[in-house]
């Protein structure tokens, strides 16, 4: 099986990869048999941070200020979202912090289900909660991603941003 053919004239000096290397990569060596490739590329990166603190004593979600917007260049693009919500915790009473990621008004994932849960009335500050999510928004319109918070047990409060941290959200448009 031929792997590739390098023209004799290319054996000395520089090799012209654009015209002197031909053939296909054999699958046995980890290739795909393809003669061309369309590798994934990062087309744009959006990053935002906030030092906003949000406290919520109810089991209705509220915005945290962790948000960023991106306008995909193609409907086939994927958006890779990295979130780091800092200063997460709960107060006294038996509750916990619940965090979810949204695209515009659409729920994507609850990425912290029982933040700081202790099962009792002790205060518990747990620090950062992170999330990585690959989204397929199928749009070329401006799209906003954000994090919301609620107090899981609707008693006492849960919080994000305690003690002056920087929470961040990074959006990467991936060409696929």
């Amino acid at each position: 099986m031929a792997f590739a053919t390098i023209g004799n004239s290319a054996l000395t000096g520089s090799i012209d990869l654009t015209s002197k290397v031909t053939g296909t990569l054999p699958t046995v060596n980890g290739g795909t048999g393809s003669t061309s490739f369309s590798p994934g590329k990062v087309l744009q990166v959006i990053n935002a941070s906030t030092t906003t603190e949000t406290i919520n004593s109810t089991n209705s979600y509220t915005d945290t200020g962790i948000t960023a917007s991106i306008t995909p260049s193609s409907t086939s693009s994927k958006i890779l979202i990295n979130v780091c919500a800092q200063g997460v915790g709960k107060a006294n009473n038996n509750t916990w912090a619940q965090l979810k990621l949204l695209r515009n008004a659409t729920d994507l994932i609850v990425f912290e289900q029982r933040g700081g849960y202790t099962g009792d009335t002790s205060v518990n500050k747990i620090g950062a909660c992170a999330c990585t999510y690959l989204d397929s928004p199928s749009t070329t319109s401006a799209t906003t991603y954000k994090v919301q918070l609620m107090s899981g047990n609707n008693s006492s409060y849960a919080q994000v941003g305690d003690s002056n941290p920087n929470s961040t959200i990074t959006l990467m448009e991936i060409l696929v």
Binding site: T54, T58, N92, Y157, G161, D162
Partner: protein
């Protein structure tokens, strides 16, 4: 602990299970006031005055 957390603790000290949301920029606690923060009373909760919250904060 942040100034905003102090506000929340004062509110829950006045009324346990009070329904509220607080948002604010986390800054140097010495320079912050209640007016720097947004307090939203939720689910028909009766608002507590900033004066009463401040009085409770001073006690805690």
């Amino acid at each position: 602990m942040s100034y905003i957390t102090d506000i929340a603790n004062a509110i829950t000290s006045i009324k346990t299970n009070c329904k509220f949301v607080i948002r604010g920029e986390n800054k140097d606690t010495k320079t912050q006031t209640l007016n720097d923060c947004e307090i939203e009373w939720v689910d028909g909760e009766t608002p507590i005055s900033k004066t009463d919250i401040q009085t409770e904060m001073d006690k805690l």
